[in-house]
């Protein structure tokens, strides 16, 4: 996608170039034409002068040298003539010296320039007369080369001036357009900040042309956030409505009356457990914001202490829980999603850890890296693939383990991130989650 700036610049330059060249060429042509018409007058006068200089001498017709223009006498002066008589006699001006001036085929001004001596280009005019009973044709020529040269000079000067003007106009236009587009550029930057989670809406102080756009984007943002909140709330209500009776059923399944029917009790418990797992998984998945909200932000320093306090409360067995993140780091992801991801990973780590659990958050050029380390027994390298595979439970002994990893996978998939299991420097398992930048 080309920028508006470049498109405007190219359009303007092309138009100016085209119009400028056409204008210059046309004015040159008009000038050339006018000059030739003017010079034709002079040539006609010279032809008349030559006719007048033809006098009857002792040996027939002759030219009166005194009445000739001196430039006809000077060698290669640029002014030439030839007089052709009906009986094939031809007189040429002295200025032609040893060169020939061809007799034009038609009367009047010649359209083409004729070749002259020393590379001269000649305007040639021919007129036919009858004098003293003889038919004669007078051709007069004038060197046009100096004028053509000055034309060429003018062309170069014009080209230079035109080019400079074009450059000046383009610079001025670039400046104007940039000024005019500055609000657009601001909006573009704000949208980028929105993507990075550094702001939650666009600045409404924009020129009136942009007001509808910005207002609409802000409205959409607010609407999306509102919809997400409402759907999360509705899901919470649904979960509440379903899970409370489920809790009753699970409690009923444990009643002493059922102790006499162990098979019935086992089957009931199994089915209830399946419902519970499925319900939790699907409700959890439906709660995900994923990539919906561009203004999402997760302030590590603000959110992580609460999460770790909660973990410490749940796993009340003297674990040392630590987190490390660059100061002021904000991840451009939905707060609840990221809490769910980290909560489940850290919860798993706390279940397995001997003494220590550590979370490290790092920012790099490609994105973000979250490492959850524990000093528990870890997982054998050959089993890790299977653990990450869909539908596998990480462990059957610790309740909810597989479930937690399921929602973790859902979140990472929604973010187009990546999860890997490695050896931890603490001795146990390290779960590495890489999230791309947005």
């Amino acid at each position: 996608m080309r920028s508006i700036q470049r498109r405007l610049g190219i359009g303007l330059a092309a138009t100016l170039l085209l119009v400028g060249l056409a204008l210059a060429q046309a004015s040159l042509w008009v000038f050339d034409h006018g000059l030739r018409v003017y010079l034709e007058e002079g040539l006609r006068d010279e032809a008349h002068g030559l006719l007048a200089a033809l006098v009857r001498g002792p040996s027939g017709l002759q030219l009166d040298e005194r009445r000739l223009d001196p430039s006809f006498q000077r060698q290669f002066s640029g002014h030439y003539f030839r007089i052709d008589f009906a009986d094939e006699r031809t007189w040429r001006s002295r200025s032609l010296w040893d060169r020939e001036l061809l007799k034009p085929d038609v009367m009047g001004m010649q359209a083409e320039l004729g070749d002259g001596p020393q590379g001269q280009l000649l305007l040639i005019y021919r007129a036919d007369y009858r004098r003293y009973g003889e038919n004669l044709s007078i051709s007069v020529a004038q060197d046009y080369q100096p004028i053509l040269q000055s034309f060429r000079r003018m062309q170069w000067v014009g080209l230079g001036l035109g080019g400079a003007a074009l450059l000046l106009i383009l610079i001025a236009q670039r400046y104007t357009v940039r000024r005019a587009l500055r609000p657009l550029e601001q909006v573009r930057q704000q949208i980028a900040q929105l993507q990075q989670g550094r702001r939650s809406d666009l600045d409404a102080e924009v020129p009136e042309e942009l007001v509808p756009l910005v207002a609409q984007i802000n409205h959409l943002l607010a609407h999306t956030e509102d919809t997400l909140k409402r759907s999360r709330n509705a899901l919470g209500n649904l979960g509440h409505a379903l899970k409370t009776p489920l809790a009753v059923l699970i409690s009923l399944a444990g009643r002493d009356e059922l102790a006499a029917h162990p098979a019935l009790r086992a089957s009931m418990r199994e089915q209830l457990e399946q419902i519970e797992q499925r319900l939790s998984r699907e409700l959890g998945r439906a709660r995900l914001a994923g990539e919906v909200l561009p203004g999402a932000r997760f302030d590590c320093a603000q959110e992580l202490p609460g999460l770790f306090a909660t973990l410490a409360m749940i796993h009340d067995r003297g674990l040392s829980l630590d987190w490390q993140a660059p100061p002021g780091l904000v991840l451009p992801r939905d707060r609840e999603d990221l809490l769910e991801l980290l909560g489940n990973l850290l919860d798993n780590a706390c279940k397995w850890a001997d003494q220590r659990v550590q979370l490290t958050v790092e920012e790099s050029a490609e994105g973000y890296r979250l490492c959850v380390d524990d000093d528990g027994p870890g997982i054998d390298a050959e089993r890790r693939e299977a653990v990450l595979g869909r539908g596998t439970r990480l462990d059957e002994q610790v309740a909810g383990h597989g479930l937690g990893l399921g929602i973790v996978r859902d979140i990472i998939e929604a973010w187009q991130g990546h999860i890997a299991l490695q050896d931890s420097p603490l001795g146990g398992l390290r779960v590495v989650v890489s999230l791309p930048r947005r």
């Binding site: 919470g236 209500n237 979960g239 509440h240 409505a241 379903l242 899970k243 409370t244 009776p245 489920l246 809790a247 009753v248 059923l249 699970i250 409690s251 009923l252 444990g254 209830l272 519970e276 939790s280 959890g284 709660r287 609460g306 999460l307 306090a309 909660t310 409360m313 749940i314 009340d316 067995r317 003297g318 707060r335 609840e336 809490l339 769910e340 980290l342 909560g343 489940n344």
Partner: protein
């Protein structure tokens, strides 16, 4: 141990009340958030089980109100809203533990026992131990010097309370407040009878009488 159960779903409340009573807890049940906010702060409960989705007043608000009023009673939040964001919110409001529905009754039992021990400074014990006695809360019997002694329900309830408060002087009315729910007729003579029976099973010195003040649990060492 006297518990307050705040839960608006009647069948679940019935189940929990029955199950908790079987385990020797005196249970008061409330379904409305406003009632809970008042009664939780005015009655001497040892532990409160609080559902978050309550009519009248949301559970989180009730909890915040209790904590801002200086109530230190351990609160176990029971909710269907199990996302981590909501758990953190619950903890910030002042919850001591968080159990998501649906749950196994045994899980709730374990959490209540752990929470009570923690609240009395006896954290990280698989069993309630005090002054040389070990109380098996699931089988409701006590082990003293390697010998298991069976207890009646009333004796178990009394001994558990004593063992959670070793060395403290507990008056009869205090014991009655914490061993019976709000609806039971209180007769301080009954407590005297049970104390004597415990002495009969565990030895005279286990519980000493402070005349005019009440009882003091000293255990085997006493």
């Amino acid at each position: 141990m006297r518990l307050l159960l705040v839960e608006d779903h009647v069948p679940l409340a019935d189940e929990l009340t029955a199950s908790l009573t079987r385990q020797g807890y005196a249970v008061d049940w409330l379904a409305d958030g406003r009632d809970a906010a008042y009664q939780g702060a005015s009655e001497p409960y040892d532990l409160i089980i609080l559902d978050l989705g309550l009519p009248g007043k949301p559970g989180l608000e009730v909890l915040q109100e209790w904590r801002s009023g200086g109530l230190a009673t351990p609160v176990l939040v029971l909710t269907a809203r199990g996302s981590w964001a909501e758990r953190i919110e619950g903890l910030k409001a002042g919850a001591d533990d968080y159990l998501t529905k649906p749950f196994h009754p045994e899980e709730l039992t374990l959490r209540i026992q752990a929470l009570l021990r923690r609240a009395h400074g006896l954290a990280n014990q698989p069993q309630l131990e005090a002054a040389g006695l070990q109380l098996d809360e699931s089988r409701q019997c006590v082990t003293s010097g390697g010998e298991a002694i069976d207890l009646t329900a009333a004796e178990f309830r009394l001994l558990r309370y004593f063992m959670l408060h070793p060395g403290q002087i507990l008056s009869k009315s205090h014991l009655a407040d914490h061993l019976y729910d709000g609806e039971t007729e209180r007769d301080s003579n009954v407590i005297e009878v049970h104390v004597n029976r415990l002495r009969g099973k565990l030895g005279r010195n286990v519980i000493e009488t402070r005349r005019g003040q009440g009882y003091r649990f000293t255990g085997d060492q006493g």
